[in-house]
Amino acid sequence: MKDLHFYQQLNDETRLSAEEEARLDEALEATSTSRQLLKGLPEEAPSLAWRSQLNEKLLDLGGKPKPKRLGWRLPSMAAGVAACSLALFAYLQSPTSVAAPDSGLESQLVAFHSEQNSAWEVSAIGGDVPELTSTTSSDSDLWGPSELTPY
């Protein structure tokens, strides 16, 4: 009858006396081998497809994936930027012909100056050659009239 009363109390979840509590603790200790049974049950993990589906749902809910880490890309990017800067610097420092503006007074002046230079080189400088400008020469004085007479 003692067992009946005890069981009834456990089923009804009524408050136990100190003595009954001690008895329950003792009974729990005696049945603790059931842990091994429960822990021995095969475990099963959800599949990767299940996990992917969960990830999609979480992202839809507003999960913020971390930005990808730069890792090794950062030094590469820095080297690239440095190389570009160097190339640009070298380009800017190289001697280059200055192109005249396409239109305006300055371009007209430049064009006029160029034409004048060309004309001077072709005509004026050519006329200044001494053989052409001087009618007398020390060499021609050596020839006599007979030698100058045509045959």
């Binding site: 081998t33 059931s34 091994q36 049974l37 049950l41 993990a45 969960l54 979480l58």
Partner: protein, 210 residues
């Protein structure tokens, strides 16, 4: 991963330690997807194992387990850290299992431990000696019988048995999850273990084992 009977798992605690928990919790509160992924990795198998034995259907269990993590992700900013992350996840899992059970109206017919003797008296099975089921049954049978016992016990008893004996939650943690006194947890655990024992004993008496 499958672990079978005989291979002691008493010290087997997959999951996260409390320090890692704390670091992850802070990140999860900020809705850090990667940090929450680590929480899922750490607890998905345990939560799924619990839910599967509660709802007794693999497909439903997968859905409910997903729902557990979705709810946790949504409610992380309200997680106050008074309980452990594991306890909190199992509370969500338990609530969802109860909700689902109410929706499906699936009632579990529990097997009474009280049996009638030949002279009409009622016999009660209060164990007074240590019970060693492994001495008499082979592992596969024990697995089957344990699953059978879980399936036939009431939801209340099953919850406590799984949380305590499978998931190693303390009496206090279980009491907190179920919002019942610690004494009630102990009572239910005792009744659940007795149900398990009765199932195995009945199988043995039927002569199914040598």
């Amino acid at each position: 991963m499958s672990v079978y009977l005989g291979a002691t798992r008493l010290d087997y605690h997959p999951g996260l330690d409390s320090q890692t928990d704390q670091a992850l919790i802070e990140q999860c509160r900020k809705r850090d997807f990667e940090a929450f992924g680590k929480v899922v990795d750490a607890y998905q198998s345990r939560v799924y194992g619990f839910v599967k034995r509660m709802v007794r259907d693999s497909e439903d269990a997968l859905d409910v387990t997903q729902e557990v993590f979705i709810r946790a992700f949504q409610a992380f900013d309200r997680f106050d850290g008074r309980s452990s992350l594991r306890t909190w996840l199992f509370r969500i899992a338990h609530n969802l299992c109860i909700d689902r059970s109410r929706r499906t109206k699936r009632q579990v017919e529990s097997v009474s431990l009280i049996t009638q003797t030949e002279d009409g008296d009622t016999a009660y099975d209060i164990p007074d000696v240590r019970w060693n089921p492994e001495e008499t049954l082979i592992q596969e049978e024990l697995i089957q019988l344990t699953e059978q016992a879980l399936a036939t016990m009431s939801e209340k008893l099953r919850t406590v048995l799984l949380m305590h004996d499978s998931e190693d939650l303390s009496y206090e943690e279980i009491a907190q999850i179920l919002a019942v006194p610690v004494g009630t947890v102990k009572s239910r655990l005792f009744l659940a273990r007795n149900h398990l024992k009765a199932t195995i004993e009945a199988y043995r008496k039927e002569g199914n084992i040598s």
